[in-house]
């Protein structure tokens, strides 16, 4: 019984994660500027990978593969902010006129 509940929960998380990835790709098509597209990509990186890998850990059960999947998940969560920060810095450095795309505010 408990096994069935865990399997159903894992499958639900997996399907929801695939849906999150779908909306991230939809966001990549619907937004019109690179820095806005990065936010859609960040949704896929954070929420999508969280849901998919949590569902897969539940499906694996208590085994070595589940531990390795946790390692992949931790690694992706540590590196994805760094990667998106580097891409954003590159975009801001290379673009010629940032004020045309979005307003700049100093506080």
């Amino acid at each position: 019984m408990a096994h069935n509940i865990v399997t159903v929960l894992g499958l639900a998380l997996l399907v929801f994660g695939v849906f999150v990835f779908f909306s991230a790709v939809l966001g990549l098509y619907r937004f019109d500027y690179a820095l806005n597209r990065m936010h859609a990509a960040a949704v896929g990186d954070a929420l999508g990978i969280f849901c998919v890998l949590m569902g897969l850990i539940l499906l694996h059960g208590w085994s070595l593969s589940a531990a390795k999947t946790t390692l992949v998940f931790l690694f992706l969560w540590l590196t994805s902010p760094v990667a998106s920060h580097l891409i954003a810095e590159m975009e801001v450095v290379t673009i010629s006129n940032i004020k045309k795309e979005c307003e700049v505010e100093e506080r």
């Binding site: 069935n4 399997t7 499958l11 997996l14 399907v15 994660g17 695939v18 990835f21 779908f22 991230a24 790709v25 990549l28 098509y29 690179a34 597209r37 990065m38 990509a41 896929g44 990186d45 999508g48 990978i49 998919v52 890998l53 897969l56 499906l59 694996h60 070595l64 593969s65 390795k68 999947t69 390692l71 992949v72 690694f75 992706l76 590196t79 994805s80 760094v82 990667a83 998106s84 580097l86 891409i87 810095e89 590159m90 975009e91 450095v93 290379t94």
Partner: protein, 108 residues
């Protein structure tokens, strides 16, 4: 139960593959090179998810190791490309600046 599980795993693997193809189209379409790099980053994330899904669906444990190595390599790619672009751009700007001040000195 097992049939439903297999069906859902296969379906999600197929949907992820279609999404990867759609993101590849976005990478070809993207007007600037940063759009392409963002699309490639999303593709890398989805490939890792796809490998993890396949490792459950096919019952192969080693695919998780492959996913780990793939995640390491994709992070390394983004870091190398962005460092390369930023340092080259900064050097270029410095050279332009130097040329301008040189011209001014010459004109004066």
């Amino acid at each position: 139960m097992e049939q439903v599980k297999d069906l859902l795993l296969t379906a999600s693997a197929l949907i992820l593959a279609v999404l990867i193809l759609a993101t590849l189209v976005r990478a070809v379409l993207g007007p600037r090179f940063t759009d392409r790099i963002i699309a490639v980053n999303v593709i890398n994330t989805m490939v890792v998810a796809e490998m993890a899904v396949l490792s459950v669906g096919m019952g192969e444990d080693f695919l998780v190791d492959v996913a780990l190595v793939y995640a390491l390599l994709s992070f390394l790619t983004v870091v190398v490309i962005s460092r390369l672009v930023v340092t080259r751009r900064l050097r270029h700007a410095e050279r332009e600046c130097g040329k301008k001040t040189g011209e001014n000195a010459h004109g004066a």
